[in-house]
Every structure is written in C-alpha cells, then in structure tokens.
C-alpha cells in the first residue's frame, strides 16, 4: 500500500490508483465533471485540481495523477475553491447553458456543481455562440449548446461500447463532438444506438427523445456496471 496525506489526513491507497480514488476511499470530496468510473481518466475539465505541497504547491488533476509514497495533498482550500469556481464560470460562459430551458434541468452535473461550488453568477462575458442541435437520430439528440467537451460520450463509445462513433472535431472553444467525422448522427454507420453516450453525458448535451425534462434522468453509473458484469477472458 502507498501512504500519503490528503487534507492532513493519513490515507492508504493501492499502488497504481489515483489521488481521486484515494480521496474518495477516505471520504474526502473532490468535485469532478469529466471523470466517470470505468472510463480512462483524461483530466479534461480541471475541476478536480488539487495542490501537492511537496511538489512546490503544484496543481494536478486528482483524477489523472497516480498516488506516490509521501504525497502531501491539499484537496480543499480557499485557493482551490476559487480556482474551481473560475473553471466552472468559464464552462458556463463558453456555451449557452440556459438551465431553465434545458432538458436536463434538475438532473445536471454542471448545474449541481454551480450549487456545490457556490457560483451565484458568471463574472466572465458570455460568448453566446451559434450552435446547432442534431436531432437526426431516431432515439437520441445532441445539443452542442449544452456540451462541456468532457469527452465522457467519446470514451463511453470507444472504451465500453467499442463503436468509436464519437470523436472531437475542431480546436479550442470551436471543438465539437461529432459522429463519424461530421455525419448527421442519424446517418452514422458505426453507431449501434446503445445510448451509453447519453447515459454518460453530465449535462443536457446528449438526451433521449420523447422524454420530458422531469424524466430525463441520466444513469452514468451504468458504464461501470456493464464493465463490471462483462465476462473476462
């Protein structure tokens, strides 16, 4: 076992586990958005940033940083709260996250994070980009206005379903999640229609058709469940 400290609490962790796993096992809450159990960590959203005292206060994503013997980690501090809130505000300012007008209102991880991190308004100017909704798929839709580019859909499709339908196109704020190199989702030849991407999506970017807002409850834990149940060689 590896011995480390998180928020001045001595913690033991399995070798090859991450700071996030160790913190969770010790009951220490670190906010996450792009992380999903069963999917490979990518450290994309940066909301799980923690400070490592014996790395000169360096900030690292807890979800993607392996534990090491003797690490002294700060998971919760005023500095981290301020940084996480800034990151969250940037996510809100980047696209059109209009909670009252969203299919995921009341069941959204981004909305919940605003509550948890005490974000009462966004200090950055909103970009208000013109983004499309692709409703060409028979069962599902994708609304780029609500996408935070966490990549949970991309990883669920590749790593759990094995279809590799979703990918990223473009750069920076212009990045879009798209199916089969930009085909309308409904015309995708690789999509199996399994819906794992929809269950993995933390916001209203991927949604099920024919479901009202109150019914639009995602099941992100499904990804870990099916991975767990899968027969092993």
């Amino acid at each position: 076992m590896i011995n480390l400290r998180i928020d001045d609490t001595p913690v033991q962790a399995e070798p090859n586990s991450t700071i996030l796993t160790a913190a969770r096992a010790a009951g220490i809450r670190i906010p996450t958005l792009c992380h999903l159990d069963a999917l490979r960590p990518v450290g994309a959203c940066r909301l799980c940033l923690v400070e490592v005292r014996n790395w000169n206060g360096r900030l690292v994503p807890a979800c993607a940083t392996p534990v090491q013997e003797g690490l002294d980690v700060v998971a919760n501090s005023d500095r981290l709260a301020s940084l996480r809130r800034t990151i969250l505000e940037l996510l809100f300012a980047e696209r059109n996250h209009i909670c009252a007008f969203c299919v995921s209102n009341g069941h959204c991880e981004l909305q919940d994070l605003a509550t948890e991190l005490g974000m009462d308004h966004v200090t950055f100017p909103y970009r208000f980009p013109a983004l499309a909704v692709d409703a060409s798929h028979a069962k599902f839709g994708i609304d780029h206005n609500r996408c935070v580019l966490c990549g949970r859909c991309v990883r669920a499709c590749a790593e759990v379903e094995g279809a590799f339908t979703w990918g990223f196109a473009g750069r920076g704020v212009h990045t879009l999640v798209d199916a089969d190199l930009g085909e309308p989702w409904g015309e995708s030849e690789t999509c199996t229609g399994c819906g794992k991407c929809v269950q993995a999506c933390p916001t209203g970017a991927l949604f099920e058709k024919g479901k009202a807002t109150a019914e639009q409850v995602k099941r992100p834990a499904l990804l870990a469940d099916v991975t767990q149940r899968r027969p092993r060689a």
Binding site: N96, A100, H121, T123
Partner: protein, 175 residues
C-alpha cells in the same frame, strides 16, 4: 426604526419572479411592516425615486430604455439585487443572442416598419439581452427561474436584518 425603502423592477423577463414574490403570501404583511414599496410594477409610481435602499431587478437588459432605467436605478439605489435567472445570466431572453438582432425582428414582424429596429416610440432592441452585471455593478445575486417564495424570503429577511444574505446549498441554484 425607519422603514426600508424597497423597490422592484421588471425588465426583460416573464414576471415569474414577481409572481413568486407575491407567493410570499402572509409574509407580505410582515414585509409591509418593515419596508415601504416605493417603486414596482405593482405600485402606481412612474418615476424611479431617489434614495432607495434595496431594489430587486427582474429580467435581462434587452433594449435601450431598460439600459437607461438600470443605470438610473444604480445611481439612486444602495443595494441592487439581480432577481432571478434572467437578471443573473440572461436566461430565456438571451436565447436570441446567437442570432442577429435584425433577423430576429424581421422574423417576428415581417417586412415594413419594424418596431425596435431604430430608436423611436419603441426603444431600440439591443444586439443581445444581457445579465445586469454586464451593464452596472450588482451587489447581490438571487438565482432561480423563478426563485421560490421561500428562497426569496430567506434572502429578503437577511437583507432587512442588515445582514449580507449568503445563499448556499439548494438556495443557490439556477433553473
């Protein structure tokens, strides 16, 4: 103790926040004992008065008249509260923001004389509906679409008691 001079204003919003305010029900009687409502959509006064202590501003800033009124409100008020999601984020009125102003107006009104396109009897529509804090300094934010009467009461109670109301947990929630 002198009564607090309270105002409420309705900009680009659906009035849902004001409806929620009226849902305070019997608490309105308690409020009336502590505060005097000096300007509001439900009060018959045309001019925004001077020396207002607290104003609840509902709605985004959508046209030139609203921008002018908000600047006047700021100059005459001690504590300006962004009241509800439209005031805090732009919310539903900001759905038009990715679109061109002229296209929006022509789609709604067709060809010919378009009210709001130029400054006239109808104030000109701004290119985007904006949250209050992008136009003036805002002192407090009260999110929700609409904020529930209970949330409004917890917030107003704090204000009236001279505290800085800190909305936390479920009270600090958009949508």
């Amino acid at each position: 103790m002198p009564k607090i001079r309270l105002a409420s204003v309705w900009l680009s919003g659906c009035s849902g926040c004001h409806m929620s305010f009226l849902d305070l029900d019997e608490r309105l009687i308690e409020l009336a004992g502590k505060a005097e409502l000096v300007f509001s959509p439900i009060v018959d006064s045309k001019e925004y008065p001077a020396d207002v202590d607290v104003v609840l501003v509902e709605g985004a800033v959508g046209n030139t008249e609203q921008r002018h009124l908000l600047e006047e409100i700021r100059a005459k008020t001690k504590i300006l509260v962004a009241f509800g999601d439209c005031a805090v984020t732009g919310n539903v009125p900001s759905l038009r923001n990715p679109l061109l102003r002229e296209e929006v107006l022509r789609t709604v009104y067709g060809e010919g004389d378009i009210p709001g396109l130029e400054e006239g009897d109808v104030p000109a529509l701004l290119p985007q509906a904006l949250p209050l804090h992008s136009v003036v300094k805002v002192d407090r934010f009260l999110p929700g679409c609409p904020p529930s009467a209970d949330r409004i009461w917890r917030f107003v109670e704090g204000l009236l008691a001279g505290r800085r109301p800190e909305l936390t947990g479920a009270d600090l929630r958009f949508g």
